[in-house]
Each structure stands twice: as structure tokens, then as C-alpha cells.
């Protein structure tokens, strides 16, 4: 549960960094209007992640942003400048780019084996309660698509702690991690997708 300091911090940040501000009159959907009226950012999209509503809102805001019709804060700008909401077909299956998702440990083990890592089948490598592993599909500079797996067993706890988050960012030199095709980038910036991933906080690391 959020404590009063966290609520105050979020309130202050929202006031100092307004987002979803229409610059001119534009025809907008009922769902975007709902977000504007309720002071919600794109990062706090009220729809279930991967739902049609979720991606429709991202794509609508992207269209407005590209026409210079809407003002966004830094976090929302990063979202619309990414490929979030764009779908591609991989092995006959539709997947969404830049949308992190949880992967099960069998899949992680399988990937590790493919990469020649020495893993013991049937030996769980998750601790009780389960460290989370995530994956995301991203476009590579060459135009291909890469699946990046990343994660940290203590993500939930530490991401909600501002001091630990700052320490993590410094330790991992997050400010220097700009390459979306690396696990390091996503580990550093996973806070932006906290709600999608079921994490307790929207803090960047």
C-alpha cells in the first residue's frame, strides 16, 4: 500500500510534469478523454495490458503526438516514441513490441539451453515465491526483431524503495544504458511498465 510520502511525491511529480495536455482542439476518444479528465498519464493507462483498449490508447496518443497536438511528460514521450502498441507476427503468432511480459521458468531454461548454458533440467532455479523473469520483443537497428529476457528476483521490493532504486541505477550505470535491445536497458527502465508487470511501484530503477 502506498504511504503518504509516496502519494505526495506522485502528486507533486504530476503537477510539475503535466501530461496528456491537448495543444489544440482535436477529436479524441472517450477513453483518452477519461484519462485527461482524471489526470491519468499514459504510463498509468487504466486498461489491462495487452488488451485492445490498452494498445488503442497508446496508438491514439502516438498519433496526436506525431501531429504535435498533445503535450506529454518524459515518461509518456518515451512510451509513444517506442514501438509499444505495434504488433508483428513471429512464428505465426502475433506479438506486441516493447511490451514486457512475464515468462515461465521452463521457457527461460529452454532459452538458456539454446545458448549453451549448463542448466540442470528439473532443478528449479527460482527461490520460493519465485523470482520474476521477463521478456520483451524489440526491433533491432538492422530491422529484425529480438527477444530480450531480463529480470531480478527482488524487483518488487527494491523498485518500491527510492534509496534502493537510486543505488541500483548508479550501480548499473542506468544513465548510460540507451540500447533497447539489451537486458540492461530493460532492467533499468522496467519501472515504466510497473503496472503491467504487477510490480508495486512505478519508480524507474
Amino acid at each position: 500500500m502506498k504511504n503518504i510520502l509516496e502519494i505526495l511525491r506522485e502528486y507533486t511529480e504530476e503537477k510539475e510534469n503535466p501530461t496528456l495536455v491537448l495543444k489544440k482542439n482535436a477529436k479524441i476518444s472517450e477513453s483518452l478523454n477519461y484519462h485527461i479528465e482524471n489526470g491519468l498519464s499514459l504510463t498509468n493507462n487504466i486498461y489491462r495490458v495487452y488488451s485492445t483498449g490498452y494498445f488503442n490508447l497508446v496508438n491514439e496518443v502516438r498519433d496526436l503526438y506525431e501531429q504535435d497536438l498533445i503535450e506529454l511528460n518524459e515518461e509518456d514521450t518515451l512510451m509513444v516514441e517506442s514501438d509499444l502498441g505495434k504488433a508483428i507476427i513471429i512464428e505465426g503468432q502475433e506479438v506486441y513490441l516493447d511490451a514486457p511480459f512475464l515468462v515461465d521458468e521452463d521457457e527461460v531454461l529452454e532459452e538458456a539451453k539454446h545458448r549453451g548454458k549448463n542448466v540442470k533440467l528439473g532443478k528449479p532455479f527460482r527461490t520460493s515465491g519465485g523470482p520474476k523473469k521477463f521478456a520483451v520483443y524489440v526491433k533491432t537497428p538492422g530491422g529484425g526483431v529480438k527477444k530480450v529476457t531480463f529480470g531480478d528476483p527482488n524487483l518488487r521490493v527494491r523498485n518500491n524503495n527510492k534509496a534502493a532504486s537510486k543505488s541500483f541505477r548508479a550501480r548499473h550505470k542506468c544513465d548510460q544504458k540507451k540500447d533497447r535491445t539489451t537486458a540492461g536497458y530493460w532492467s533499468c527502465n522496467v519501472g515504466r511498465y510497473a503496472k503491467q508487470l504487477g510490480l508495486s511501484s512505478g519508480n524507474s530503477w
Binding site: I46, Y47, R48, S51, T52, G53, G198
Partner: protein, 89 residues
């Protein structure tokens, strides 16, 4: 598994109470395996949201039908939320 509500069975229906101090992060998107009718017994500004719809305020005596496998969630309001659930076979 811990659920974010307390439950009793009354006249064959599930009566669930979501306490006002429930952590709103526990009110996750989910779907159920059976169709169900939900009657609102107590609510102050609690909201209900079906997948791809905007949230709607829950009022006492509202009766909602939730089809099986349909994603939905509740959004925390003030005080307790009390609902009666009739599962449909």
C-alpha cells in the same frame, strides 16, 4: 493463495467483503471459470471495469452479469465493498 476479500456463503451465494484497507494493488485483473451474477450490497465510490471498457461506479443494488473468461477488476473506493455472487452452472 491469499485473496483480497473475506467470504461467507449465504443462501448458496458467495458474499464477499473487500475491506477499505485492502491494498489496491491486490485488486488485479482476472477472469472466472463460471458465469456469475453479482449484486452490490455495499459500495461507496468503488468502481468496476470490464476489459476494454471504462470503469463504472458500483451502486448498491446494481446487478452485474460477468461472463466466464471475461477479464474484469474492481477499483478501490471508500469504505468496504460487499457483493453477493451467484455462480451460474
Amino acid at each position: 493463495m491469499d485473496f483480497p476479500f473475506e467470504q461467507i456463503i449465504s443462501d448458496g451465494n458467495l458474499v464477499r467483503t473487500f475491506q477499505e484497507n485492502v491494498d489496491d494493488e491486490e485488486l488485479k485483473w482476472h477472469f472466472d471459470l463460471k458465469d456469475r451474477w453479482v449484486t452490490i450490497l455495499e459500495s461507496d465510490n468503488w468502481m468496476f471495469q470490464m476489459d476494454d471498457d471504462l470503469p463504472n461506479k458500483l451502486n448498491v443494488n446494481d446487478k452485474l452479469f460477468i461472463p466466464k473468461f471475461a477479464w474484469h477488476r474492481v477499483i478501490k473506493g471508500n469504505g468496504n465493498l460487499v457483493v453477493s455472487i451467484e455462480e451460474v452452472e
